[in-house]
């Protein structure tokens, strides 16, 4: 008797627990899901594209228009990989419609979608003379010809580490200076 009563009670308790669990879950989820649609619709209306994603793409392709990136990201569901692939595939990004005005802060470093002239200076690499500290060796307006240098360039492998480093440095510098001399001579002829 007692045994049959417990065997009835346990499934009952389980059933109540399960129904109760789902009921509580439904109640708890309800407010969240009720507020969710307005949130997503407002983000759609406000054209919110993740700025960090735009920055990621911009850092790879600084030449691209940030608005175009935002437009592409919005349409492909915010996939940086898809946008990158598209650019690398040579298809380029579509021009966003004029109505698409996302709220994207300009990146601190990049000047954004400015003119090509500005972009050109952006990498801002110093010239080779500055880079390799060769100012002192171009004083003679390229007149100081060093003909024997060519032969010396084909120098042998030195057993000394410092001599090897010195040799490499000299070959490197001579290559730059020779290029400069040649260019100067060519311009002198013209």
């Amino acid at each position: 008797m007692a045994e049959s009563q417990t065997s009835i009670n346990i499934p009952q308790i389980l059933a109540v627990a399960i129904v109760g669990f789902f009921a509580i879950r439904w109640f708890l989820n309800k407010p969240a899901s009720a507020s969710a649609p307005p949130a997503s619709s407002s983000s759609r209306g406000g054209r919110q594209v993740d700025v960090t994603k735009i920055n990621q793409v911009t850092s790879m392709f600084p030449q691209l228009d940030r608005r175009a990136i935002a437009w592409d990201l919005q349409r492909n569901g915010g996939s940086v990989a898809a946008t990158t692939e598209r650019v690398l595939g040579g298809r380029g990004l579509d021009n966003p419609p004029p109505s698409f005005q996302p709220n994207i802060p300009a990146q601190e470093t990049a000047s954004g979608s400015s003119s090509g002239v500005q972009k050109r200076g952006a990498p801002g690499q110093p010239d080779l003379i500055t880079r390799y500290n060769l100012q002192g060796r171009i004083s003679g307006k390229g007149k100081e010809a060093e003909p024997s240098e060519e032969e010396r360039m084909k120098s042998a492998w030195s057993a000394d580490k410092a001599a090897r480093a010195e040799n490499l440095k000299r070959r490197r510098e001579e290559m730059i200076l020779a290029a400069r001399r040649k260019m100067e001579a060519k311009e002198g002829q013209a």
């Binding site: 690398l88 690499q125 080779l128 490499l168 290559m175 290029a179």
Partner: protein, 165 residues
């Protein structure tokens, strides 16, 4: 593993010093670290890059020569296959098996039988003949394709500027 890589890089350095290919100078920035090299490549004759010299940095992974180095130009190089940050996009620098775009021959990609010398020679010929299929610099690629005279003019101006003239 590191000693294998160091040994190999040392051998390659030696070879490139005693028998350097025309227009290429390359070696480690410092022999204390054989995994960072600096190379100078001369602009190929007959191309708008002729007369220019272009420094680049090569960084080798610890498991070289199983994996290829990366290469970055240290100067402004307006070229369809060079990113605006200087990174070079060429199949020989792509690891075997890794082919994101599915148009490279396996034989074109990196394998341990390649070498620094072969990379630099490949890059030199890439400079002369851009590969239009995989533009790294989309603007440069478009200019090269559609407005060649403007492209050449710009490259020549950059070359001149880089020599401090």
């Amino acid at each position: 593993m590191t000693s294998v890589a160091s040994k190999r890089l040392y051998q390659e350095y030696k070879h490139l010093t005693t028998d350097p290919p025309e227009g290429i100078t390359a070696g480690p920035v410092s022999e204390d670290d054989l995994f960072v090299w600096e190379a100078i490549i001369a602009g190929p004759e007959g191309s708008p890059y002729e007369g220019g010299v272009f420094p680049a940095e090569l960084k080798f992974p610890k498991d070289y020569p199983l994996m290829p180095p990366s290469m970055r130009f240290l100067c402004d190089l307006w070229h369809p296959n060079v990113y605006t940050n200087g990174n070079v996009c060429i199949s020989i620098l792509h690891a075997p098996g890794e082919d994101p775009n599915h148009y490279e021959q396996a034989s074109e990609r990196w394998s341990p039988i390649q070498s620094v010398e072969k990379i630099l020679i490949s890059v030199m010929s890439m400079i002369a003949e851009p590969n239009d299929e995989s533009p790294a610099n989309v603007d440069a690629a478009r200019m090269w394709r559609e407005r060649r005279p403007e492209f050449e003019k710009r490259v020549k101006a950059d070359v001149r500027k880089s020599l401090g003239l």
